[in-house]
């Protein structure tokens, strides 16, 4: 079963397309890194999946049901602005959010909050630090006992300790319940060690979609003489060149020709290669 499917999804704001022709499927149980530069369309995509924004074209489904202006009962969404009632205490807020949800576990929220050192239950939400507010919002998201957790920049305002604490909470939920997670970040390094699937978005379009290990195994970085580039076969994703040397990122490369060094890319260089290629397509003049 797929937790989430996008079919030719697009979203236009006035004249600008924030998301264009996005098609992908998130298999159940995956922990997906939704990455891309600022403004790539990550938040728009998540907000559409949560039913807060209607697509201009195409369709999004969660657990097989079209998202039609409302969030699926099995889905929880952490919005980037962490919209919480600032005048309530954490305890009052938990009760209030519980009253708004049909399926709800106060025990689960308290269990999660108990693991987070920096959150005072009796403090007013408005007085908490940005990081503590994020942690409260994540605890509330887990209170819905979701099968799919959509997290928009969950780590952006957390200090290293809170970040580790929060990832542990989310990953324990995955271990215990097989929860599917889609989390966005403009920093790949935030998500590298906790995700098994990558969805790279740039300029509103899907650039890479797949199991991280499989995606890496499908690509090679070849370094060799500029003059000899015609000897290399495969799908060229991006290239950087000096006077004598070419560094090529290739998908499905054929056997390496003599005189070329061949390595598997790490995720960072793979993502950089795709982003460079996408930027070059937009403004070819900047190509080197």
């Amino acid at each position: 079963m797929t937790a989430m499917t996008a079919t030719a999804v697009g979203k236009r704001y006035r004249t600008r397309w924030a998301v264009r022709d996005c098609s992908f499927a998130v298999p159940e149980g995956k922990v997906v890194a939704l990455v891309g530069p600022n403004g790539a369309g990550k938040s728009t995509l998540l907000r559409m999946a949560a039913g807060l924004v209607r697509p201009t074209t195409g369709e999004l489904r969660t657990f097989g049901t079209p998202v039609d202006g409302r969030i699926h009962p099995d889905v929880s969404f952490l919005a980037q602005n962490r919209s919480l009632y600032r005048d309530l205490t954490v305890r009052e807020l938990t009760r209030a959010v519980g009253a708004m949800n049909d399926r709800w576990s106060t025990d689960r929220v308290e269990e999660v909050l108990g693991l987070l050192a920096g959150v005072d239950h009796d403090a007013k939400v408005g007085t908490l630090s940005a990081g503590a507010r994020t942690q409260v919002a994540i605890a509330l998201a887990l209170g819905r006992l979701p099968r799919l957790l959509l997290l928009d920049e969950p780590l952006s305002d957390l200090d290293p300790l809170a970040r580790d604490e929060t990832l542990r909470v989310i990953m324990t939920d995955v271990a215990d319940h097989g929860t599917t997670v889609v989390m966005s970040s403009h920093l790949l390094s935030d998500l590298r060690e906790v995700c098994d699937h990558i969805l790279l978005i740039d300029d509103g379009r899907v650039q890479v979609d797949g199991d991280i290990e499989e995606v890496l195994a499908e690509h090679r970085v070849l370094v060799g003489p500029v003059a000899d580039e015609s000897a290399v076969a495969g799908t060229l994703i991006s290239a950087t060149r000096t006077e004598r040397q070419s560094t090529l990122l290739l998908r499905k490369a054929e056997p390496t020709p003599a005189g070329w060094a061949d390595t598997e890319p790490d995720l960072e260089s793979l993502v950089m290669g795709y982003l460079r290629a996408s930027r070059d397509r937009r403004s070819p003049a900047r190509r080197r």
Binding site: G29, T172, A175, E193
Partner: protein, 136 residues
């Protein structure tokens, strides 16, 4: 109830994937005789509680170890070591080869060599004896 006998240390800056680090550390523990047949590997949840990694990655690494015939998943019980990779040559502080290496290392240190010198010498000599294609 048996408890896990080893703990994985995931180095985020090593450039080696979490998946590979778990496989390598499990094998190394088996080689050094820290893990014996019958021992239970830490559960995915235990690993996640100790270091915030993706439990799916832990399970995938265990499946690879199972495919290599080193461990066995028992439903509802956990993943257990089924094979020994240690031998008299590698296990224990008193293994003869280990003692020779220890003697050599002691002489290197007394001779004023630093860690980088020792590592460079060790890998140069290792590569002489084990050609690249054998180092899978």
């Amino acid at each position: 109830m048996l408890t896990g006998v080893i703990e994985f240390r995931i180095d985020r800056r090593s450039g080696v994937s979490t998946y590979m680090q778990i496989i390598q550390q499990a094998k190394q523990a088996m080689r050094l005789g820290l893990l014996h047949p019958g021992d239970r590997l830490p559960s995915a949840r235990e690993v996640v509680e100790a270091t915030a990694v993706n439990p799916n990655t832990v399970l995938k690494a265990y499946r690879e170890l199972e495919r290599e015939g080193l461990v066995e998943a028992r439903r509802g019980l956990g993943t257990f070591v089924t094979k020994s990779l240690s031998s008299a040559a590698t296990a224990g502080d008193d293994a003869p080869l280990r003692q020779e290496l220890s003697g050599w290392m002691g002489r290197a240190r007394r001779g004023g060599l630093v860690v980088e010198d020792v590592d460079a010498l060790y890998s140069a000599v290792r590569d002489e004896h084990y050609p690249a294609e054998e180092q899978a």
